[in-house]
Symmetry: C2
Subunit: 154 residues, 2 copies
Amino acid sequence: MSDAGTGAPREASVDVIQRELTAFARRARAAAARVHPEIPLVSYTLLAHIEEQRGCRATDLAAHYLLDKSTVSRQLAGLEKLGLVERRPAPEDHRVQVLHPTEAGLRVLATAQANRLAAYQERLKDWSSEDLDRFAGYLLRYNAAGPADLSGPR
Amino acid sequence: MSDAGTGAPREASVDVIQRELTAFARRARAAAARVHPEIPLVSYTLLAHIEEQRGCRATDLAAHYLLDKSTVSRQLAGLEKLGLVERRPAPEDHRVQVLHPTEAGLRVLATAQANRLAAYQERLKDWSSEDLDRFAGYLLRYNAAGPADLSGPR
DNA sequence: AGCTTTCAGTTGTATAGTACAACGGTTCTT
DNA sequence: AAGAACCGTTGTACTATACAACTGAAAGCT
């Protein structure tokens, strides 16, 4: 069964969590770049979100990922150039563009997702289903607490 | 007690883990930049490692964080310019420089660490000690699997 | 010893990702 | 209709990063 946990006091646990999440974050980019060199690859994340939402606006992406709208704008420009995303003017509001993955975008996304998942499957292959389930639960809970407040006191 | 976990099948858990870790990683940088704007701040991580190791070489840092040595070199140059790190030539081997935090470095580190920890404490304040402990354990286990292999098949 | 290989770190160059500020259109509110 | 609020783009700048070429130092082999 679960072998996670060491009976450490609260502060120590928080410290470990902080440290390990940070370590993960640092490595994530380099790793991501290796998984799918084909797609510029933060873009991948945006594309995934667009697909999930079945169409969304640039502003939504910015809000969701805490990115500046200029950043999103440029990422989208890249995705469009690659033919992975399509912008459709919204008839209702001429300011907005509704974003949709193209066919090619969906394909790329599916492949990348499969690769990613395979990599994670491999990495987690020795974990019990119970541990996986709990770990997933904790991560959800952690992230659900709201995007911004890793930031602490400004 | 723990409310993590949903009884989901393996694949779904892995998918959630993948997704949530990625979400975290994406947000981490922006958040980090807010926590301590004073220190260029990946540098912070390197500084922390130097301190922990009680002196180490640039190459060690590169290996540990999967960074190119040029990257580390520049980061260190920055830290040195800020007076946070000191390079001491190794008497045994004139190629290497042993890195040590300066007094100022230790101070900055302590402050930053305190801020970070406070931010995490706040974010995790509603978690039970047991959940914290287990979450920490899972993260350790995940990261311990080795730095490189999020990358999957090259 | 002398030559070659290997290792540590720096520097040149290029790229992604990002932010902030300024701007041009568009829509909403008085 | 005027002003405020909003959506997206573009100009500019900076951090983090990689790769490749290079210098200097140590180690290994004849």
